[in-house]
């Protein structure tokens, strides 16, 4: 290795990043590193090992079981992603949407591959042609639906009912496509298809919620999350969620209280403003506009506050009580106020830049959630093997994937 081109030959780069290594890899590296040639790096590595070991000692697992305990890291940068986003958007437009399949793949790859868990990145595996095929069929279906509903409202209604009946299939296929297109350490995730159960969860339970005047809704939402997580797999290992309906009730009630207090504040302030400014709509139309603007702004803020609380509470509960059998457990500590500030500023950015801030909004959101998540990886991960990778590229999978149905997972 005498080549002068070798960027790693000399010890000139003390920032060489060992933090992406697991504890075992660090120990290996520390053993094999020539400490007289690379003193700076060896010292940095020693410090990292000590930090990692103390982090591991604070968890509930046996030391022998744990490979690493680390926060999820997001390496994406807003400026970098903006350049990617805008160039791909232009290409999508000038190709009348054909390129959008490639753009979608690049976007997903950017976010997956910049997400680092215990020293390894996630990977996005879908091929642009898969997405394009699905998207063309999706557009044809959408056009068909729009045409039918425009020509005959009754036929449109029948189509909607039909779609509603298909919802459980659609959700399962969508989740499966997303999970199968994601890999970590060379092994794919998966989602088991259980259509019978899906019908019960996505069609019958919402009816139950309706019949109980939504009193059962938090319980139904818990059942939905449970169904989604318990059918996820990483290679040949299952996800095991242990969720509690009580947490969903607590989250719903507190969000409701936040919304209620917010609405009271709006009511009072409108009343006060009405009282102060004499309300003659003809002469004060600018003032009236301003008031309406403030009210609308406060209204959005309250919605953001209530949904942020719910999201933070539920995400923390789900992550803290879900593990992958013998492979990993998760910890989430999303805090209500920072999440609310994030969401509110995101809306602000989007509105004031007319959408140009989308890349920064997506990057800062991804970073926020990454920083709030810790993953404990167990030694069992080394035994995970891929389930037989039968590439059944079922068209339905792709169509649903291309529709990009987003069900909030976490």
């Amino acid at each position: 290795m005498s080549d002068t081109n070798n960027p790693f030959e000399a010890d000139t780069n003390p920032e060489f990043d060992y933090s992406t290594y697991t504890l075992d890899e660090m120990l290996d590296a520390y053993e094999s590193i020539d400490k007289t040639v690379f003193p700076v790096r060896a010292e940095a590595l020693r410090k990292l090992i000590l930090l990692r070991q103390s982090a591991i000692s604070s968890t509930k697992y046996d030391k022998g079981e744990i490979l690493s305990v680390a926060k999820v890291k997001f390496h994406g940068r807003g400026n970098e992603y903006f350049a990617i986003w805008i160039v791909n958007l232009l290409l999508s437009i000038v190709t009348l949407g054909i390129y959008s399949a490639w753009a979608t793949v690049r976007t997903h790859r950017y976010f997956y591959s910049n997400t680092e868990i215990a020293g390894h990145r996630l990977y996005y595996l879908a091929e642009p042609m898969q997405i394009l095929r699905g998207r063309i069929i999706a557009v044809l279906l959408l056009a068909g639906y729009l045409i039918i509903s425009n020509f005959s409202p009754v036929a449109g209604l029948i189509v909607i009912l039909f779609i509603a009946l298909l919802t459980p299939f659609v959700i399962c296929l969508g989740v499966r496509f997303r999970m199968r297109m994601m890999a970590y350490r060379n092994v794919r995730f998966n989602f088991k298809m259980r259509f019978g159960r899906a019908f019960f969860i996505f069609l019958f339970l919402p009816l139950v919620a309706l019949c109980t005047f939504y009193l059962a809704m938090p319980w139904v939402l818990k059942k939905i999350d449970e169904f989604l997580y318990e059918n996820m797999e990483y290679g040949n290992k299952n996800f095991i969620p242990e969720l509690a309906a009580s947490e969903y009730y607590v989250a719903a009630i507190i969000s409701g209280v936040i919304a209620g207090i917010g609405m009271l504040i709006i009511g009072f302030s409108v009343a006060i403003m009405m009282g102060v400014g004499e309300f003659d709509p003809e002469s004060m139309s600018a003032g009236y506009m301003f008031t309406m603007f403030i009210v609308a702004f406060m209204y959005i803020l309250i919605i953001v506050a209530a949904t942020s609380y719910y999201k933070a509470h539920i995400r923390n509960h789900v992550y803290n009580n879900t593990k992958i059998e013998g492979v990993a457990s998760f910890e989430s500590n999303v805090e209500f106020i920072p999440l609310m500030v994030l969401n509110a500023t995101n809306y602000g950015l989007l509105i004031f830049t007319l959408g140009l801030a989308i890349p920064w909004v997506k990057v800062r959101t991804a970073r926020f959630y990454a920083e709030a998540t810790t993953v404990t990886v167990l030694v069992g991960i080394n035994e995970v093997v891929a389930e037989n990778e039968n590439q059944d590229s079922a068209v339905a999978d792709e169509v649903i994937g291309a529709f990009n149905i987003d069900i909030s997972i976490g």
């Binding site: 790693f8 994406g76 958007l89 690049r106 790859r109 999706a138 729009l146 036929a155 060379n186």
Partner: protein, 377 residues
């Protein structure tokens, strides 16, 4: 030679092995495997993931082994082997600046020019059977929901019908498809609308609003014919269709709360389009009124009635907002447009209005007097 550290995964397993990869200028990749044997591959045997930002580079060997290496300019250069791809543009400030300017321009071109133009070209070719079917279904659905049988003065509506059908026969169009209907409504107020097959519906509330004024109603009738003759329904449908599809297609991967922005821009685009269609129908009505020898000012008078009616209802609505979100052009602009066409000044129009009102009042008082005198003293 370039020496890079990499992570090696054998096919289908999570086990990671840290290796030192040597990349030679001649295009070979080699590393020492777990048995310490040197393994060699040529550049063309490798499946290399495209460069994207600074994410790690992935290489898949012919035996499906995966090697992951941190992105680095020298490594990227070796992997690209002189070929350029999209990442070249993504890294070029010039391309980014061009895109920032070109994205809004091309979007404007597609949504404001291309799609509306396409609808003009394609709308006349929509098969009649679809037009007939959609109109019948729509009318049936409206009769079921918002419309009731007319309770208007049959004598007066019969006069209107007779006049309009004779007017139609004198116009240069397919007059047989037209069908005039009167309906009562609680929901949609004073209004008239046309279905693409030539069905034109007047609400009782509109007849009452304009006091069965034949001139005004004829002007409105012409406006509705304008919608039918210019295939406005079909153009609106294809516009909505094309816009929704374009938005889904171009912004396909923009999900979640960005949907909100997509739907808002869709609504604004559609409403701007319908405003344009209203102007076209207005223009048609004014032209036809002139050709058939009627006074185009009647159209302005009809609009005036609408604006008075609207002011009674929602005076708080701010005009600027209305201009953007409303599907109809501002009534005042439409009145001035009609007056300009007729060559009548605003003040002369006001005088005419007062005069007509006076005449009507006179007729009413004389009718009242008549009925009063018939009462037994």
């Amino acid at each position: 030679m370039l020496v890079v550290e990499g992570k090696l995964f054998t096919y289908g397993a999570t086990n990671c092995q840290i290796i030192t990869v040597k990349l030679s200028a001649s295009g070979t990749l080699c590393y020492a495997n777990s048995a310490d044997e040197t393994v060699k591959y040529k550049h063309e045997e490798l499946t290399i993931s495209a460069k994207l930002g600074s994410i790690p580079r992935e290489i898949i060997l012919p035996n499906k082994t995966l090697i992951v290496m941190n992105s680095d300019p020298l490594l990227d250069q070796w992997l690209s082997a002189g070929k350029e791809d999209v990442s070249h543009w993504e890294n070029s400030p010039k391309a980014v600046i061009v895109s920032v300017i070109a994205v809004p321009v091309t979007l404007y071109f597609i949504f404001a020019i291309l799609i509306p133009q396409m609808t003009v070209v394609f709308a006349p070719y929509v098969p009649d059977v679809f037009v007939e079917l959609s109109s019948r279904h729509t009318m049936a659905a409206m009769d079921e929901t918002v419309l009731n049988p007319s309770e208007a003065d049959l004598g007066k509506t019969a006069v209107l019908e007779k006049q309009w059908y004779s007017l139609l026969t004198n116009m240069d169009l397919d007059h047989e498809k037209y069908n005039i209907l009167f309906r009562d409504t609680d929901m949609i107020g004073p209004n008239a609308f046309a279905l693409p097959n030539g069905t034109i519906v007047f609400t009782d509330q509109l007849l009452e609003l304009v006091d069965y004024d034949e001139d005004i109603l004829t002007a409105i009738f012409m406006h509705e014919i304008g919608h039918v003759e210019n295939h406005h329904s079909m153009r609106l449908i294809s516009q909505t269709l094309a816009t929704s599809i374009a938005i889904t297609y171009i912004f396909g991967d923009v999900s979640g709360f960005f949907d909100f922005f997509a739907s808002v821009s869709n609504t604004i685009a559609t409403n701007q389009f319908t405003q344009k269609l209203e102007w076209e129908a207005d223009e048609f009505a004014l032209q036809q009124l002139k050709i058939t020898g009627a006074d185009p000012v009647s159209f302005a008078r009809g609009m005036k009635k609408f604006s008075e009616y609207a002011e009674r209802g929602n005076s708080l609505f701010t005009k600027d907002i209305e201009k953007i979100v409303s599907s109809h052009p501002l009534t005042n602009e439409r009145i001035s447009n009609a007056l300009k066409f007729a060559g009548v000044s605003e003040s002369a129009f006001a005088e005419m209005e007062a005069e007509i009102q006076q005449k009507k009042d006179a007729v009413k008082t004389s009718e009242l007097d008549k009925s009063g005198s018939e009462l037994p003293q």
